[in-house]
Amino acid sequence: MTIAADKTNRIGLTRDDYRGAHTTLCAGCGHNSITNHIVKALHDSAVEPHLLAKMSGIGCSSKATAYFVDRAHGFNGAHGRMPSLATGAKLANRELVVVGVSGDGDTASIGLGQYCHMIRRNLDITYVVEDNGVYGLTKGQLSATADLGSTLRKGRANDYPQIDICAVAIDLGASFVARSFSGDGKQLVPLLRAALAHRGTALLDVVSPCVTFNDHAGSTKSYAYVKDHDAPVNTPDFIAFQPEITVDYDPGTVQDVALHDGSHILLRKLDGDHDVRDPVAALRALHEARRSGEILTGLLYADPEIDDLCTRERLPDRPLAHLGIDALRPSREQWAALMAALV
């Protein structure tokens, strides 16, 4: 353990308190950078480690839950099935801050059905897809997010169009959709913090190069390609809820999205007219970017008004998992009446 040179956050924890086991991923893997950004965001947002639930599927990316916040509970589940595990966990204990880490194979291939239905339910989760366009852990097969025509290291070109998980999410009525790049902490950390503050499914599709299997020329998920084709639509700034602070900005250049917990995400518009409240505009931008080979990053769409799963299910504030048996059984009288009515 290194001694924390870090300053402490609102709940008195240092950055080191948010670290996890040593990574066993490849040196240079984008996933490792994302881990670091997650650590920073969790620390900055002062998430209580014991309330954090780290969920993942199977893949190099999914292993990453082991590499941050040792103290928290985590569940490295089964391939493609993390959304259902996370759904159950949140239903059982809505106090948990659920952070999911998945891969593009995990989410867009085997897990696509669960992914879509999680979005439909608007499960309150920060859902990070570490998107490298390949199956890292099984040694470099193409994934469904690989772009049409992009090539594998061994030269095979992809004959199938990519599944754009951001576009699909917007179409399914997602409440928070962003894309970013593992190498861009300045953009990713505020997005992560906003996602944590958002009540609902916050999708972060983070392009995360696989240095071992998909970082060569011909790949559209390589460090070089992303750096060259990154087209940010906005620069996000995250303002945590602090009642006394007011922020001054020019509404012409900044869009302010107020989140449920009183936080704000301020978006400095780069692409003149990108309105994060307009789903069709976001879809248009994504379609156009796809055509031009650009990777649109930033907060693409947000609607903090949509009820999340637990709200829809009208769950009490007290976690279901904490209810005693007396609160759950019908009374003796109710039971007797029930039995009496059964002919």
Binding site: P49, H50, T87, A89, L91, N93, L315, L342
Partner: protein, 610 residues
Amino acid sequence: MADGNVNDLCIQAATVNGSGSQSSNLVITKALFHMGIPVAAKNVFPSNIEGLPTWYDIRITPRGYQCRKRSVDILIGMNPATFADDAGNVRPGGAVIHEAALPRVGAAGREDVAWYPVPFARLARERIDAKPDLRKYLQNMIYVGVLAELIGLDPAAVERGVHDQFRTKPAAAELNLEAIRLGVEYAREHLVKTDPFRVEAMDGTAGRILLDGNRAAALGALMAGCTVLAWYPITPSSSLCEALIEHAQRFRVDPETGERRFAAVQAEDELAAIGMVLGATWAGARAMTATSGPGISLMAELTGLGYYAELPAVVVDVQRAGPSTGLPTRTMQGDVAFVHALSHGDTRHPVLLPGTVTEVYEDTRRAFDLADRLQTPVFVLSDLDLGMNLWMTPPLPYADEGIDRGKVLDAEALERTRDWGRYRDVDGDGIPYRTLPGTPHPRAGFLTRGSGHDENAFYSESPRAYRDTMERLRRKIDGARMLLPAPQVEEAGRPGLVVAYGTTHHAVIEARDRLGEAGAAVDYMRVRGLPLHPLVAEVIERHERVYVVEQNRDGQMEAILRQELPGTLCDRLRGVRHFNGVPIDAEAIIEPVLAGEAAARRPPARSAVA
């Protein structure tokens, strides 16, 4: 009229589904029940919504048998498509009430039964004032009246039956009563009774209720404090989930805030359903799902995750017939072996085997305790017969005991524990201690995973850690033998023993009586859970011939017995198997057992010489 024909008959209504006949049949069933006459009803229905043949058997026996009877005493023949076949099943001397317009060809031309033609369609058309689609339903209600008149149903009981059935719709009740009166009237005026069957009020249903197993299981879950249900509709388990939702809605909603102390999610499929259950139990709730065959197949992978990562889960499998889609509305005990070792690799899951409504209530309730105690998925194996038919049963008892959440360490307990390891076998029972997410203690957190891990829940590929974990899991599940219900044994030192489980029980009860009357009495043991209780082998040991009766083709329980019994005992096993989708009847047991017992009594040498 022989007295044997009082309160001893089987009535079969052969209709078309979606035609409202279900209400008519329930009115008859409930009227009989209100007359104090024990009834057993079996609904044999098709896998569609409207227009296919459906049969409803109402069996009345003075001894209260609850199993199917093979032959029919009174047929109510309403379905042109099956009329000839249905008439063929009526026993000689029986009776047939039927739509007069149906052609009397084939077996429908038999002369050894009494024929009661009734122009139901015409009566409905001419005498019932209602919209055409309603009239279609009411037409079937007329046969209730005809039957009532012919066998002597008490009009007051019929009226109560109608009111039970249309509790929330008084107008509908009135219309239906009118249709019934029409039937009574017609029978009185036009039919001459020539069959011997009748019913008389008696005192055989006091202290009983009518209840289907699915609702009972739902009430068990409610009573157990289940707070998360994740499910995907599939016959015949949907009504279990729907009943649980209905009762949670009734008992778990805060009248002021509208808040629900219960979450029910209709998942996108069964993979998601079991995933949600595991996520919920991981986070500390009691959670369940219910499904049937195809759903079980889809839950295979995650059940293995639950086993290896050691997470509680309750899965009720309401079994139906067949591999693949099979016969979705027919019954079977075909998942026993599959469920017991569900998932790839070495796995083994505790299985509860209820045979009655009370048991499926108790077993479902206790499955939550078992799952929490053992930290593993537990299966409750019901079937369509138990789950979807109405059974006479004592009212379900309120649960007096508390619940067992098993070995969970909260922050305080953790503080007292110096050296906690998630997967450490501290007590020698193979069951480790767990903490729940959200526990406010810096040492509470760990990573749950389905990949290799050591005692401290760290990732590990160590051969030793892997083997030790697997050995411990074996010990843990082995320990379940003593936690599961012991077999139900009725022994009187006879050399023959029937072994059965689940709903096969009811046919065994009748078969035993009749075997006894035939001079071939046998003992009986009903297995109540897997892995097997030690008593199972002991009881088998005391018998020479052991008939393992089950409702599947491959003798799945027999195979499980063979895995555990010494060879000498294996050789005593004889499989008796029934697998055509309709519930097993006594004949299916009596014949092979009688043959087996007779062969044993016959001195072998003599017959060879003679």
